[in-house]
Amino acid sequence: MSTLSVSVWRGTESGRFQEFTVPRLASQTVLDVVTYIQRTLDPTLAYRYACRVGMCGSCAMTVNGRARWTCRTHVDNVAQGERLEIAPLRNLPVVRDLVTDMTPFFDKWAGARGRFQGGATRKDDFARVAPGSPARQLADAGIECIGCGACYSSCDVVAWNPAYLGPAALNRAWTLVNDVRDTGNRARLAAVAGDAGCHACHTHMSCSERCPKQISPTASIAGLKRATMEAALKGEI
């Protein structure tokens, strides 16, 4: 039986890689590898997943140096000479082993006013949003985010500027800016502008490159830069 050599991060921010040998199987995912280690070789290994089908966003890890959703990442596509190195996501505190604390990540969604703010009551009729309207199309481009943090983990500006809201939170804000039902955009634009917001982005595009949902936070951030610049020139923020 062929095998895979796997180095897995153990510990917190300070720690070390531990070596495991795992049976190599057809159609094996990186999450299968981690699960095998935890169930068969070392039950103390901490990691996180829920859906196994690319919906929940909880399984992202750094695999051979790149942030990936491990449940949908096939070993075939990422192993280098039958070797894998699996570490926690970058740019987030490590709780233990492969588990990061996502609190700062989601706090920044809140900071970017990533929550829908409606103005209608239940007495109002449904809002009708034409699927082909430009704003709806822009919102559609970013709406499938699963909150995995792969983009956040891949962004150097997050590492250099701890206050930076990051690609996922800004992408979320941009979907709401384009939601014609939302009434909170003035405050939202103020929240996402400036040195800790969209203007910190260097358009590196690592986020867009690594997003497993093929979202381009970079494009969303560019949209926010335009919208906030217009708002600032008009004195609205």
Partner: protein
Amino acid sequence: MGDERLSVRTQVLLWTAQRASAVVLAVCVVVHLVTIIYAIRNGITAAEILGRTRGSYAWAGFYALFVAAVAVHAPIGLRSVLAETLNWRGAGLDLTVLAMGLALALLGFRAVYAVFA
């Protein structure tokens, strides 16, 4: 030095000024390079340069615009570079880059005046 931050609106306007000055710089650099290539085709002398620039409001205006664009663009960019590499933010940084911008403007305008007058 205190930790006072510029208002969000000011931060956005700084970013806007940096982008706008980049556009001006792109044009100025091209004109400047073309002028250099044209000017040195028969070798280059101080007399030749001064012959072109002395009393020329067009060249003085062009280089004054160039200097202004540099003085706006460089400090704003440096502000980000220093914030990201040294983790230095707040009023101390803002005043430092403002002083740098003023120094660039002063030295630049003095040089423009020197080849004009």
